[in-house]
Symmetry: C2
Subunit: 156 residues, 2 copies
DNA sequence: TGGAATCTGGACCGATCCAGTCCTGTTTAC
DNA sequence: GTAAACAGGACTGGATCGGTCCAGATTCCA
């Protein structure tokens, strides 16, 4: 359903949580407790985010994590592509072009347009905006498992 | 990676193929041969598309499939949501709201914005456009498995 | 009227990927 | 030197996806 993984979902929650209180720097157990996500997952995701440069880690006894940049400078596109690779709807990814049917494939150039639109949408939203106050919003349907996952479009 | 399944990928190819020669109506073996996709998969996908109203089936000896509507009236959003459910990036789908942390989740309203942008992009492209001539386009990387999958953005 | 060709609907299976856990090692504060 | 915390893996169970197969219903045509 064109969806992100839970890992990314959680990652966004963690980043949002950190962005909302940028003065503190939190360690993994604290973040897990405050976001009510499982600690091992939180730990795993934080490591990934450090490796991608979105977070900075502080080792040692009073260690923890803080944002690598200002929330205004981090886009959703960046977060998502950090946690699950380049943003693209389809799977044409292997360079080996044994796609012997390219000439039959009238889809490519238009897919590119779609991919760009998606990417554009994600680049247009910063982490800072995600911490902003909620639209009062009607009661939103949510997934049991993915505690924090975003709102879903139900039309059609 | 925010991607569609191969089923949808194939489905788009099949629909595009049918749209490109709307005068004929093709049966499953013909479509499989002409698109070089495995027959059982083709058959399976065609059934789904009929059920969703995108295709019309003609049973019996000279049966086959043809488009249920004009290619100009079928959008990518429709095709994708037919084959894999509602278009949404995240998984908040269950109505059971045991998502006990809604108040901690500052993500929802913004996710909605993202979902809408994605959907908008997909609604803006019709099947008719997908049959149009290719931009001459540079050599595009493709996936071994997904013969037809679209172009991918490689930046970042 | 009967047989062949085709769609219909569903069950089924193996492979892959995801979510989540766990363990060992390294770094730092005190 | 010890404890607290991050780093970097390997590992596992389960869900989903890609793909196959089969029995039945429908229609054409001889």
């Amino acid at each position: 359903m064109i969806r992100i993984t839970k890992q990314t979902d959680y990652g966004i929650v963690l980043l949002t949580h950190l962005a909302a209180q940028a003065e503190r720097h939190l360690n993994a157990p604290e973040l897990a407790a405050e976001t009510q996500l499982p600690l091992p997952m939180v730990s795993k995701i934080l490591k990934l985010l450090v490796r991608e440069g979105l977070l900075v880690s502080h080792r040692g006894v009073k260690g923890g994590y803080s944002l690598g940049r200002l929330p205004e400078e981090i886009t959703m596109a960046e977060i998502i592509s950090s946690l699950e690779g380049p943003i693209a709807i389809t799977e044409c990814i292997e360079v080996s072009s044994d796609c012997s049917h390219e000439q039959l494939c009238p889809v490519r150039s238009n897919w590119q347009r779609i991919n760009e639109a998606v990417r554009g949408a994600l680049e247009g939203i910063t982490l800072a905006e995600m911490t902003g106050p909620l639209a009062p919003a009607r009661k939103l349907v949510t997934l049991g498992g993915g505690k924090y996952a975003g709102a879903q479009l139900r039309q059609n």
